[in-house]
């Protein structure tokens, strides 16, 4: 090998180590918010950009491997940088750069974890996500995976003095570990009797179809728990409101994608040839998650919970696509599989940018107003124009509206669904296109949710008088928001360039890339013989030209006189802010339509009440039907087992003796 700086893998490794060092440097002056905020977080952001660039350099090289002599004796850490890791590494670096620069202005002195310690946890979290992507054996992967879970647990519980937050953190930790056990077992199956836990060994291991199925299901459970696939989603709506906004952004925007990475890695790389019907599992779970998430998002009144449910929706979309890609790959429709997988990775990129942008936007609002409840916000576009307009970009993007990025990936996914009728299995080939209908429903509902989100927070009249004192975000925060918004715009405007990068991955996964087309760079034609095309730049240009022409034309031919007056509202004079729709009100049609999904408690006032009160609680049926009984039974069993703990030394000695005797009996 030539100079180490010529190797993208070495560069990534150095930058990840640098992230950890930046974190450690926070401990030098743990209580200085100035040092941590003004020096370390911007440095972390720069390293993020560097990481994205360094990783991108490796795209045109074949996969690169490295063995580091760290870890247990005889168990060195294997690292590998291939196109799949690179795409997710770019995602990690680019999205975290925006989040870190925002975080530089965000964290303030206050309750909870000291800034220096927070800096350490934050950067360890970043670095561990990077190592997850680089890991090439099960040990290194699990080590990085657990570091990621633990560091994010501490970040979630930054405000650890509040009991609800500790509880949310515990729930997160619990489900993260259930998932980790499942992943560990999956690797255990994948090694296929060779007892070598490197990914290379797993690639060459020959599993019979039953064991391969077991490995796939375990991986789906494990990575699904991390991603927040229904019914393992319960931690998301608890952990996201609890965590500080940049942490929510990182977890939702980036960490959930490591789960997707793991799933792609297992199903398309490690397990060999996937069987087609495996895909139906993530496909159906994904569709259900997408609808479930978006319906619940529409009913939320806490802005971060709303976004958390929207993340469940997007994870659902991603797993739907992944399932479809597995079905296609399983029946050897390689071009369709490649297109679907490209759509999935594209959507992962998009979601990283737009969801981080929205979470950071809520963070800025939270700082300016101290409110997370949508019922106490409103009219902030006047007080916080920067945050409002930049968030609007994220809102339009995540609602899947052209010409922004959310639309491109949904478009690609719908296009690939249109191949599903060719799957050579009767009945399935008819059900699959219906998935596209459900996906369209989820995407349209996302628009509803986002209008609610933006409209209630930023538009209308302020619902509290204290909102008049709200201030716009500071410079670093604006910069972070603008970076992510720029990402949304670029990913939306340059789909052909992004897709040519993503098809390197599908080629390396032996699915082949997209068929070559002679379309110009601004015109996206994924499948030339279908002639379906999309050109966001032209699209945007025409809308822009018409807007400008209309604007100039009206002024030229008529006039530009404007008078300011009170709102009309059908002539009803005394308008106040309580007459606008509340968040509950805006979600009411959805609650009405999807009533069976919700566990709802509603108290309506009667006309005779002297002090009318309205109360509405929306619960998750899955929580009540699955988790509460499970928790209760665990508690019961624990109570029974607690009988063993007699508290006398003689009893414990007896246990040891009995254990020894049983073991001896077993051995002999």
């Amino acid at each position: 090998m030539s100079h180490p700086l010529n190797s993208p893998l070495m560069l990534c490794l150095l930058l990840l180590t640098a992230w950890s060092l930046v974190g450690l440097a926070g401990l030098a002056r743990p209580s200085s918010i100035g040092f941590v905020g003004r020096t370390l977080f911007p440095l972390g952001a720069l390293l993020g950009v560097g990481l994205a660039v360094a990783a991108a350099m490796g795209l045109n090289h074949p996969a690169e491997q490295l063995v580091l002599p760290i870890g247990l004796p005889d168990l060195p850490a294997h690292l590998r940088l291939d196109a799949l890791s690179i795409i997710f590494m770019i995602l990690l670096g680019a999205a975290s750069a925006g989040i870190s620069i925002f975080a530089a202005g965000y964290f303030r002195q206050g309750e909870g974890t000291a800034p220096g310690l927070l800096c350490l946890q934050y950067h360890l979290f970043l670095a561990s996500m990077g190592f997850v992507l680089l890991a090439d054996d099960a040990y290194a992967f699990m080590l990085a995976w657990e570091t990621m879970a633990l560091s994010s647990y501490f970040l979630v519980t930054t405000q650890h003095r509040i009991p609800e937050i500790r509880q949310a953190g515990f729930l997160y930790l619990l489900i993260a570990h259930l998932g980790a056990i499942s992943i560990l077992l999956s690797f255990g199956v994948l090694q296929g009797g060779s007892w070598h836990f490197t990914f290379d060994a797993m690639r060459t291991a020959h599993l019979d179809s039953h064991w391969a199925t077991v490995a796939f299901c375990l991986a789906l459970t494990g990575f699904g728990a991390k991603a927040g696939l229904v019914p393992l989603h319960v931690w998301l709506p608890e952990a996201h409101p609890a965590a500080p906004s940049p942490v929510s952004a990182l977890m939702s925007g980036v960490m959930l994608k490591t789960a997707l990475y793991g799933m792609i890695r297992v199903s398309f790389d490690l397990v060999g040839q996937p069987m087609w019907w495996w895909g139906l599992l993530p496909l159906s779970l994904g569709l259900f998650s997408a609808l479930y998430g978006v319906v619940f998002a529409a009913a939320q009144t806490d802005m971060k919970r709303l976004l958390a449910y929207s993340s469940i929706e997007n994870i659902g979309i991603l797993f739907t696509g992944l399932g479809l890609a597995i079905v296609f790959a399983g029946v050897d429709m390689r071009a369709a599989a490649a297109l679907t997988l490209i759509a999935v990775m594209y959507h992962a990129m998009n979601h990283a940018f737009m969801k981080s942008l929205l979470f950071l936007g809520t963070g800025a609002v939270l700082h300016a107003t101290g409110e997370r409840n949508l019922g106490h916000l409103g009219g902030l576009i006047h007080r916080m124009p920067w945050v409002a307009w930049l968030t609007l970009i994220g809102v339009l993007a995540i609602a899947g509206l052209p010409p922004l990025n959310g639309f491109v990936s949904e478009w690609l996914l719908l296009q690939s669904f249109l191949f599903a009728y060719k799957v050579p299995h009767p009945f399935i080939n008819m059900l699959l296109p219906l998935g596209a209908a459900l996906l369209a429903l989820a995407a349209a509902l996302a628009g509803y949710v986002m209008v609610k989100f933006f409209g209630v927070i930023f538009l209308g009249q302020p619902r509290e008088s204290t909102l008049k004192r709200a201030h716009d975000a500071g410079f670093a925060e604006r910069l972070g928001l603008a970076w992510l918004a720029l990402g949304c715009v670029l990913l939306g405007f340059l789909p052909t360039n992004v897709i040519s990068l993503l098809s390197i991955v599908t080629r390396q996964l032996e699915l082949g890339g997209l068929p070559a087309s002679d379309a110009p760079w601004w015109l996206l034609v994924p499948i030339p013989e279908r002639e379906s095309s999309y050109a966001p730049l032209a699209f945007f240009a025409v809308i822009g030209i018409v807007v400008v022409l209309a604007f100039v034309g009206v002024r030229f031919f008529y006039h530009q006189r404007v008078r300011k007056g009170a709102a009309w509202d059908c002539g009803f004079g005394r308008l106040n802010s309580r007459m606008q729709d509340t968040a509950e009100g805006f979600g009411q049609p959805i609650r009405h339509l999807f009533q069976p999904l919700f566990a709802m408690v509603r108290e309506l006032p009667s006309p005779f009440d002297t002090q009318p009160a309205y109360r509405l609680e929306i619960g998750d049926r899955i929580w009540r039907a699955l988790y509460q009984p499970l928790g209760a039974s665990v508690r019961q069993i624990a109570d029974k087992i607690a009988w063993l703990q007699q508290g006398r030394i003689a009893a414990y000695l007896l246990y040891s003796f009995v254990t020894l005797v049983v073991l001896l009996a077993l051995m002999l």
Partner: protein, 315 residues
């Protein structure tokens, strides 16, 4: 793409923009005749728009720039949609920029901006209208997409000009999947364009209106643009229907003769469609707002049925 193509394209857009208010005038005229009233002039929508342009705009004190931007964006989106939909001719240069799915996305963009603008001033009616508009939208959009899926399965493309060409090359035959989707599409058209039975374009009764509630705070040129955009939306939907269900006669070359024939046929189709729309509006009663989801769910199911029939029978 030659210069001629671009000229045809620009003329097509200009004609659509100019014809849209006349089409609305025609529908109103037919409806008045059917209801035994003396009909207003077919040019009345034009006069209304002209009058509005001359007025001074009154804007609520707490309106944000978004409120003033929205009419232009909505109008721009509708004009762009008119550029995408093959109404007179196929193979126009701009139609490549977006297929049918992107067209649905574009209509959704307009809807989102309209709803956001309605929430901007923070009035009771505005927010209520926004909520209802989004409710109609999230149900109508998937139904429309499924309609498009059915057609694109038939034609193996989602590009509207190709769909129109493919279908117009076929001889007329009653295609069961297309029949189901045509019903679904008509229902979506009624709902999306604020027509009876979902909304009543002729009333300002506060508690039942949807579209009018969204525009309540607009006046003068902003209102004029919004009204014009609404007229264009109806025109666009009609043209989508023509391109997908009765594309015969659409010009596939840009020879002047075929263009003239195509334009004449389009006018005839519009005249018939407008009369049919007026008939539907006359014989049906407006639904309660909470019946509207059922109406649209029926449309969605019809479209899905069309999809299943298409996959089962291959026809």
């Amino acid at each position: 793409m030659s210069g001629l193509d671009w000229i045809v394209q620009v003329i097509g857009i200009a004609l659509a923009v100019a014809a849209a208010p006349v089409f609305v005038g025609w529908v109103n005229q037919c409806r008045a005749w059917l209801q035994n009233k003396s009909a207003p002039s077919i040019l009345l929508p034009y006069r209304g728009i002209r009058k509005l342009f001359h007025k001074d705009a009154v804007i609520a004190v707490n309106a944000s720039p978004l409120f003033r931007l929205a009419p232009y964006v909505v109008f721009g989106a509708m004009v762009t949609a008119a550029a995408i939909i093959p109404s007179i001719a196929t193979r126009l240069p701009f139609t490549q920029a977006a297929d049918a799915i992107a067209l649905v996305g574009l209509l959704a963009t307009a809807r989102v901006f309209l709803s956001l603008a309605a929430m901007d001033v923070g009035t009771a009616f505005g927010t209520m209208g926004a909520r209802r508009e989004m409710m109609i939208g999230f149900l109508a959009e998937p139904a429309l997409l499924v309609v498009i899926f059915v057609v694109s399965l038939t034609c193996a493309t989602t590009a509207l000009p190709m769909i129109a060409e493919h279908l117009s090359a076929q001889s007329f035959a009653l295609n069961p999947s297309l029949a189901f989707t045509a019903v679904a599409f008509t229902m979506v058209l009624l709902a999306e364009n604020a027509r009876i039975p979902v909304d009543n374009p002729a009333t300002h009764l506060e508690l039942t209106m949807i579209h009018e509630a969204l525009l309540l705070e607009y006046s003068a040129r902003h209102l004029a643009l919004m009204e014009w955009a609404a007229a264009l939306k109806l025109f666009n939907y009609a043209c989508i229907g023509f391109a997908v269900f009765i594309p015969w006669g659409i010009a596939t070359s840009h020879a002047p003769v075929s263009l003239a024939v195509s334009a004449a046929l389009l006018s005839a189709k519009l005249a018939v469609a407008g009369a049919a729309l007026a008939l539907i509006e006359t014989v049906s009663a407006k639904l309660r707002v909470f019946r509207a989801p059922e109406f649209l769910a029926t449309a969605f199911l019809f479209a899905v049925l069309g999809l299943l029939v298409r996959l089962l029978l291959g026809a």
